[in-house]
């Protein structure tokens, strides 16, 4: 029998595998390892096994932060789906060249630096900023409205920065949907609404689920948006983790929080693979 030549496979997949093992897998195990250690007096990591960090997470302060983070991430995800699906549907039904223009428009925010974008938001929304000026001058409000450093502005910022991640996967699965399936459904007696429920929605579900994953997971862990628009006063998992590794220097607690995020992410990805089989994704 001919001996298999493994060289091409190694050459193609090898570098990335080594890269990922060195810079993702090993650090991840290290984080899991640290999460079971203790914090020294000077903020160092003491290699003394303990469950303390995980027990701290059960403390109501952290519990509240976690549940609030989940809520904001869920809100962001729902808002992105609600806004993104109709938009994705609309552009998927445009001629190809038009759709490409819309996609470019959606991508433009990525061309600007996140920090710059968020800073400009602060300027726009601050007490003496253009938005408040407009509201007062047009008589909609009497006194300046406080926008900055609120949960609402954080949520708004999250939706804005996450929307493209929701639109793109949904667009691609709606665009792939065979038009004759919709005609077949209409032909067999289904009105537009029924066709949407029975054909369009189930067949674009892989795209919707990708959107959920792509929006929910980063929204849970993101710290730039809450840090800037929330002024660091509004606490989420993301900026707490950042603080544990930074200012506060409680690495084991930060690691435990990270592990919690990894667990939530893992659960979602598990659900994703359960609900969308490969064949379904290819057929649509």
């Amino acid at each position: 029998m001919k001996k298999k030549n493994r060289l091409p496979a190694l050459a193609m997949a090898g570098p990335v595998s080594v890269w990922m093992i060195l810079f993702v897998t090993i650090p991840m195990f290290f984080i899991i390892f640290i999460s079971f250690m203790s914090r020294g007096i000077f903020g160092d990591v003491v290699y003394d096994p303990s469950m303390e960090s995980y027990l701290t997470l059960l403390d109501s302060t952290y519990f509240n932060v976690i549940s609030k983070s989940l809520k904001v991430a869920a809100f962001t995800t729902l808002a992105c789906l609600g806004l993104g699906y109709p938009f994705a549907y609309y552009i998927a039904k445009r001629p190809k060249d038009q759709a490409a223009k819309y996609i470019t428009l959606i991508m433009i925010p990525f061309w600007t630096n996140t920090l710059m974008r968020l800073n400009s938001w602060l300027l726009l929304f601050q007490t003496s900023g253009p938005v408040n000026n407009f509201l007062q001058n047009s008589g909609i409000t009497d006194a300046p409205v406080r926008f900055v450093y609120t949960d609402e502005l954080v949520a708004l910022g999250m939706v804005t920065s996450m929307l493209p991640f929701a639109v793109l996967p949904m667009y691609s699965s709606i665009e792939k949907l065979n038009k004759s399936l919709l005609e077949a459904s209409a032909d067999l007696g289904a009105d537009a609404r029924t066709t949407f429920q029975k054909i369009t929605l189930p067949l674009t579900f892989p795209g919707i689920f990708s959107a959920i994953i792509l929006v929910f997971i980063p929204s849970l862990g993101v710290y730039t948006v809450p840090d800037m628009l929330g002024g660091g006063k509004v606490l989420y998992i993301g900026n707490i983790i950042k603080n544990q590794f930074g200012m506060i220097r409680n690495w084991p607690l930060g690691a435990a929080l990270s592990c919690l995020l990894i667990a939530i992410t893992g659960l979602l990805i598990f659900l994703y693979t359960r609900f969308t089989s490969i064949e379904e994704m290819e057929v649509v």
Partner: protein, 366 residues
């Protein structure tokens, strides 16, 4: 005579500046198998889609059972479609695909189960109820598509090149099955195809379309034996075509002078000096070593083409034209290079008026 079930009156379809269907008038009779036949781009699929409701007419009316369907959405029309690429719902089992029409209409579950079972029986797919479309062969998918369309008991079933994706053997088998099914159910079938053999095999009547116009409507034998236009003569089966001028007419037999020589053809309604086309099928062409009276078509045998059931002989005429005739067996009395005189029974040839041709019509309009 049966009544008309679908009627198209003065139907036009334009896509932008492009007229795809032009002043179409067609009465589809109850219970018949009518085929829209033509090359791609002739407007046959567009016509079908207008009947189904997927395309709006630009002008004219379509009625189904005497009622205009102009303001009816596809889901409100009593017609069902079998799509070109089946269009089965990939996320549903065979059972749910077939049941779809009934589920939408909120038919009771028990009734759905029994009607779906009957339908699956009818298309011989018993045992495949729980499969997904992916797990079926092309022929099986086709059966599911037919069952799914028939379960609503449509008055008219529209079929858009349903056998196009199948291999030849399966296609032949499905042609026979479809025809039997149609006879048994008594449903009107409107069938779109570009395959003339398929059309001849299955149809009660054929509408041969070209550039958005019906060139000829008739039974398969009408269309094969008496093509009304040069296009129909060339598109349905094989034809040898001549163009010439009528020199004299004697008891319906005309002598026609062509570039290849003079020939005889039987026909009515023609005048001396009129330019006409003459079509003769390869199986009716006779050959001899001596000239035949009335004919003056001489040629040199080029080669013999073995086709399985027949042998075709290609003959080069002095006009440069190539003529084919076919026999069940190769005639050993002639060889390639031999000079032969071609002739036929005048009643076997068809005289075609000029000006019945679509392009010629347009030229006249201009």
């Amino acid at each position: 005579m049966s009544d008309s079930i679908v009627s198209l009156q003065g139907v036009f379809k334009k896509f932008g500046r492009n007229t795809v269907v032009r002043d179409m008038n067609l009465e589809i009779l109850e219970g018949e198998f009518l085929t829209l036949l033509g090359p791609s781009g002739c407007g046959k699929t567009t016509t079908l889609r207008m009947i189904a409701g997927f395309e709006e007419t630009s002008a004219g009316t379509i009625t189904v059972q005497g009622e205009s369907v102009e303001n009816k959405e596809p889901y409100q029309r009593d017609v069902n479609t079998v799509f070109q690429n089946y269009a089965l719902f990939p996320h549903m089992t065979v059972f749910n695909n077939v049941a779809y029409g009934l589920t939408i209409r909120k038919v009771p579950k028990a009734e759905i189960a029994s009607r779906v079972a009957d339908m699956i029986d009818l298309v011989q797919l018993k045992g495949y109820e729980d499969r997904k479309p992916d797990e079926l062969s092309g022929g099986q998918k086709q059966r599911v598509a037919i069952a799914r369309a028939l379960i609503n008991n449509p008055k008219v079933l529209l079929l858009d090149e349903p056998l196009g994706a199948l291999d030849l053997k399966l296609r032949k088998q499905m042609q026979v099955e479809l025809k039997r099914l149609q006879k048994r159910l008594g449903i009107t079938f409107v069938y779109v195809t570009h395959d003339q053999e398929e059309a001849l095999t299955m149809s009660d009547r054929i509408a041969v379309m070209r550039e958005g116009v019906v060139d000829q409507l008739g039974t398969p034998s009408d269309i094969y034996d008496y093509p009304r236009t040069r296009f129909v003569a060339g598109f349905i089966g094989e034809s040898n075509l001549f163009e010439g001028t009528v020199e004299q007419i004697q008891e319906r037999v005309m002598t026609v002078r062509t570039e290849a020589g003079s020939l005889l053809v039987q026909g009515e309604g023609f005048a001396v000096d009129e330019r006409i086309h003459v079509s003769i099928r390869p199986e009716y062409v006779e050959f001899a070593k001596e000239p035949v009276e009335g004919f003056d078509i001489q040629g040199r045998i080029k080669d013999f083409i073995y086709m399985g059931t027949v042998v075709k002989t290609a003959v080069d005429l002095k006009s440069g034209q190539e003529i084919k005739y076919s026999r069940f067996e190769q005639d050993q009395s002639v060889q390639s290079g031999d000079i032969v005189y071609l002739s036929w029974k005048p009643s076997r040839a068809v005289a075609i008026k000029r000006g019945t041709e679509v392009e010629e019509r347009y030229e006249e309009e201009k």
